[in-house]
Amino acid sequence: MRTRAALTSIFASVGVLIIGWQAGSAAMSTTQPSVTATSSGTSGGTTSTTTTTTATVASADGTYTGDDVNTRFGSVQVEITISSGQITDVTALQLTDADGRSRQISNRAAPILQSEVIAAQSSNVNNVSGATYTSDAYLQSLQSAIDKAGL
């Protein structure tokens, strides 16, 4: 093969591969920030507001969870909130004490007795949430009673 042909082929091929690679990196980075809403920090503290998008592609605003980072205090995972392009909140999600055990405040569901629950009246609520009712079943439902009462 002629030298010129060989050289142009090599350059063109490498060029094409680089373009493809760049396009791929760009495509990956726009879908990169996986939006996960996680519970935060200390007990009794406020949970950070997470504005999560419902579409499959994340927009710039939102809450992002970083990788586990090892610090001298242990392993830290940080959650940042971005709105209008600015970081508005940073929360440490998980702290490991020196022994390496993670101290995580639990938001788990625990048993609660019926007797502890304050009785509720349908006349005091604006809406009722239950398993989806059909249009026919709606008529007998509490929601329809509330709708009729016009609260």
């Binding site: 996960t36 809403a37 996680t38 519970s39 935060s40 406020t46 949970t47 950070s48 507001t49 997470t50 504005t51 999560t52 419902t54 579409a55 499959t56 995580q104 639990s106 938001n107 788990r108 569901a109 625990a110 048993p111 609660i112 007795l113 019926q114 502890e116 629950v117 304050i118 509720a120 009246q121 349908s122 005091n124 609520v125 604006n126 809406n127 009722v128 949430s129 239950g130 398993a131 989806t132 009712y133 059909t134 249009s135 079943a137 709606y138 007998q140 439902s141 509490l142 929601q143 329809s144 509330i146 709708d147 016009g150 609260l151």
Partner: protein, 245 residues
């Protein structure tokens, strides 16, 4: 004012300020359009055609593929507890579509300049601002006596959405995972800032049981109330503080 209309096989109830009547029709359109596309009760809907094999997923509309992608995303995130595939292999996007429409209705309401409203569709509710009575008090139905409420709690900033899943009337989109011979829960209610998260997780926890409930509360900023088959209740700290004295 309150507007109600039938859609997606159930009934939507919208609470708006007095002058909000004008937007009810627009909200209805959002649901009707989605129903046209996704209803499995219409033979000519796009989703029915896909299930019948007349149309391939690859050549479906962008909206349908986005809904499917969202459902698959939830499928992954809930380790399979949430699934849009029925046991017979057909795709049922009823779960995500309803929530997507409620969410879209909310966006539309905000952009119409309305900041105090609630949108309730078949038991899923999203609200904003203040209710006519102050807070948006929402009751949770007792699964064993549908004329009574288990409890009621206020929805507000950070927890504007509530969704309940139950093995009751329209539980078609909940397929209990194989490993649970019998479902652990009779009803699951999830409260979150986002209605899609609340709806997907309520469905996932119903089919995934206790394990999924723990995963959900560990991973997402939600609160949950689950009713077990024997009537006993499980509640996250956030629910407990709101429903107890």
């Amino acid at each position: 004012m309150r507007g109600t209309f039938e859609t997606m096989g159930t009934v939507a109830s919208i609470v708006l300020p007095a002058d909000g009547e004008r937007v009810v029709a627009s909200i209805r359109r959002i649901f009707d359009d989605a129903d046209q596309r996704f209803s499995l009760y219409r033979v000519e809907s796009e989703l029915s055609r896909i299930n019948a094999g007349e149309l391939s997923l690859m050549s479906a509309s962008d909206e349908l593929r986005a809904a499917y992608a969202l459902a698959m995303d939830w499928h992954l995130r809930t380790a399979g507890a949430f699934t849009p595939n029925r046991p017979d292999g057909a795709i049922d996007l009823n779960g995500v579509v309803k929530a997507m429409c409620i969410s879209r209705a909310g966006e539309m309401l905000f952009s119409s300049g309305l900041g105090d409203w609630s949108v309730a569709v078949g038991g899923d509710i999203l609200c904003a601002g203040h209710s006519p009575t102050g807070e948006w008090n929402t009751g949770i139905v007792d699964p064993f006596d549908r004329t009574a409420l288990l409890c009621s709690l206020p929805l507000g900033a950070g927890r504007r959405a509530i969704a309940t899943s139950g093995s009751a009337e329209r539980g078609d989109h909940i397929w209990t995972l194989e490993r649970d011979a019998a479902a652990e829960f009779v009803q699951v209610t999830v409260i979150a800032e986002d209605i899609c998260i609340a709806d997907a997780l309520a469905t996932a926890i119903m089919s995934g049981g206790r394990e999924m409930l723990d995963l959900a509360t560990d991973t997402w900023a939600i609160d949950a109330l689950a009713v077990m088959t024997d009537g006993s209740l499980l509640a996250t700290p956030g629910v407990r503080s709101r429903v107890t004295a």
